[in-house]
Symmetry: C5
Subunit: 213 residues, 5 copies
């Protein structure tokens, strides 16, 4: 969010990194440098990073020769960890392995982030294993003279499946027209929340007509 | 655009970074160094970065021991932020999480960029949730002797759906040919702006013929 | 896992890198710096990295002028190697070439990791070469007056293939209705472990009816 | 190409970077260091980079405290720019935003590269918006006894669409066989330059036969 | 492969980089540092890199102020080049532009690698331009009472195309059943090396039956 109160804004007097009492903290994670503030690191009191910023910088922790705290973990997956502590959201680039971030969230013991990553992994698995598209089918019925119009006005996502002629076009001396059944289909799309839009008005009426035989 | 007036061109006399009054500014964003100019940082007067370059470099801001301004934010998503201030466009590599850039745009309080990123996110969601392709259907009608030619000359994106025979091939002593209906389809493609190209001239005439029974 | 016992936690007294007896080890892999601990490097006693951390830092190994051990190998694929030694899992970002990690695992002689990577490569190849989707088919049979209902209630992943009329609609003076066969299909989805869900109850009964002729 | 004449080969006597008259140039682009030669930078006389290497290194240009020329632009998209000046080709990794390279090519005023990038962007748009695949259709005709063979020998990319029976199977005492029409289709594949391969010889003959009624 | 003989293993006595006679070589490729050994660089005697490691480090080559050899080329595509010299394989991450590696392989004049990259590019183009899937078709024939069983037992990748009724269901007083033809299809899958698996035994027999009329 926007730093209206300016808690992460630079402020007076100047506070160089590494000075005693400085609010800035330098980390050497697996060989890559990160800079952040004690406020960020202290966001989750149960995490390993909280313990890190409580310590008296001279007495307790392993530091490299530039004074940065040493952490024997992967730097690539540390970015999303630190960002989560900064703004509370889980953001991962598309090529990043979510399991990598999960391992680090578990190592640093940030329980809320572990839940978020596990949920993200679950959602991704669900999305990719949805199986074949489901369809619903309807049967439309009309006489031959209505056929062209009925087919031409079929729209709104309904798909033509098959036309089949039925009924008494073979009766002697009959004045009956040929009757046709038309099978149409529609994909059941998850994002429409399972609501299936009915065919147009005319087709509805036709559908209510029973068999002609 | 092209720097014809040379505002970001190097110019005389030389201006090393970090000298008092220098137009160059060094930033240490989460541990990664960026170099830019005060002109770039001042592009949006309401942003946190504007405030940063207004300050007297010695009095107001937190700097690391190389004199770079410290910012406790992610460096990966800072690139598009800085580029936006440089040239006014939102450019993001394909693997980058747009939400990451949005978080930073909101933190730095660059309202126009926040709008751009939100719009980009919305466009991407629309593109991926367009649902099944929509089709339009037409019914063509012809006699058996015209059938081969009608099917062979069907082109321009029209797709064959079904052939069905209709009419009086069963009348005693009749000279009538078999009649056929041919159902064809065409995808409604968004990029054609909803314009559906009608079938060829002959087929149009056939379509206007009514039922033969 | 969580470092509850704190073996990789920073602890007292402080241990700067490169001090004699320090638990921290710096590596220069192909020009990129990595920092880790002897504990991590010693995870697999048969690996080249184990030998590296056994050595007396001053006598045995090639080091650069910052005191980091030199390794003439690729740094990009070293990340997953080091992570495997840290937490025992194989984690690779989506754009990474698995063969690159395999080459390094073989060079460093980490047999368990070599097996894991080969398995991962094999799984990926299987997933992409599964061939066309397989289908099963069923034939439903009903009278014309049941047709609309049967087609409309077809769901649960069954797909309409074809409707065909059969039987004695041509017998003189018969009261028989037209009979229809409906062919339906269903994808054999691997994730359902080959279990094919049967059509609804009514359709089952219809299927058991023999031919009407 | 291969440096047979060795213009970019190292040569005698040694020429350390930054010495007066050195052929090597160091650039600090947005905080990332690049090293190249004056020869490379001078490739396009109208570009901003040409001006940069003409200057007397001490008088005219902004440099950082390591002596590298400062440029307030993005470093990620600078790689393809420099490579273009080195070898004349536009090479971009798959995740790179082409618009990013375009912006930089325009800033540095390298007209030939601007044209190349715009062309690349256009080609990509054309490829992704090609619309639905186009088909051509043919009608094959045969008697019932030829049907199995005709269907089995259909190959070479022709796809079965529909089989329909026609003609005089209903004449009293006739010896005529049932006649069948078979509609087949083929994708119009751009890479075949619009050449449609005709069906096999037999089918051609059948196609020339007119209607049987 | 595994360094059992230890040629790239660190060995006694210690050999810091840049000492005269050191086996380690530092390269500054376009601004990015790489470290490797003379043994690696000398792998291809005709390459520019071989010449580089032959030279007396003080006399012949351009070096930067840290003593690394300067090369005016792209660093991103240099990784695969160096890896090829290390282990003889071409390994490229999925987002890397193969043309970038080809340009560098040609510049450094490593003929065997140039061949490998060109082959890789060719394979990728073939894979993406295979055109529409090819099908083979078969016609099955059975009587109405066998229809349900034949359709239900169709499996192993055969796909239902169409059912059509043929023959003498219209003869006066005949006891004949309706006959059906069933058209089925199968994808020609490259990975099966063009071997088409025949339908089941019963269907084979039916196929050998001629026309019933």
């Amino acid at each position: 969010g926007t730093p209206s109160s300016g808690s992460s804004l630079p402020r007076l007097p100047s506070e160089p990194v590494d000075k005693p009492g400085s609010r800035w903290v330098r980390l050497n994670v697996g060989g890559t440098y990160f800079v952040t503030t004690k406020q960020t690191l202290c966001r989750d009191p149960k995490s390993f990073l909280f313990r890190l910023c409580q310590e008296d910088p001279d007495l307790d922790s392993d530091k490299d020769d530039t004074g940065a705290y040493l952490i024997d973990r992967d730097p690539t997956y540390f970015g999303p960890i630190l960002n989560y502590l900064r703004h509370g959201k889980l953001i991962m680039d598309k090529n990043l392995a979510e399991e990598g971030v999960l391992e680090e969230a578990e190592f640093y013991n940030i329980a809320s982030l572990v839940r978020l990553v596990k949920e993200r992994i679950r959602d991704n698995e669900n999305r990719t294993s949805q199986g074949p598209v489901k369809h619903v089918y309807r049967v439309l019925q009309c006489q031959e003279e209505e056929l062209t119009q009925m087919v031409s006005t079929m729209s709104d996502g309904w798909k033509f499946e098959q036309l089949i002629s039925i009924g008494s076009s073979y009766n002697y001396g009959s004045e009956d027209q040929a009757e046709f059944l038309c099978v149409v289909s529609r994909e059941l799309n998850n994002s429409t929340n399972g609501i299936v839009i009915e065919p147009t008005e005319k087709a509805k009426i036709l559908q209510e007509r029973g068999s002609r035989m």
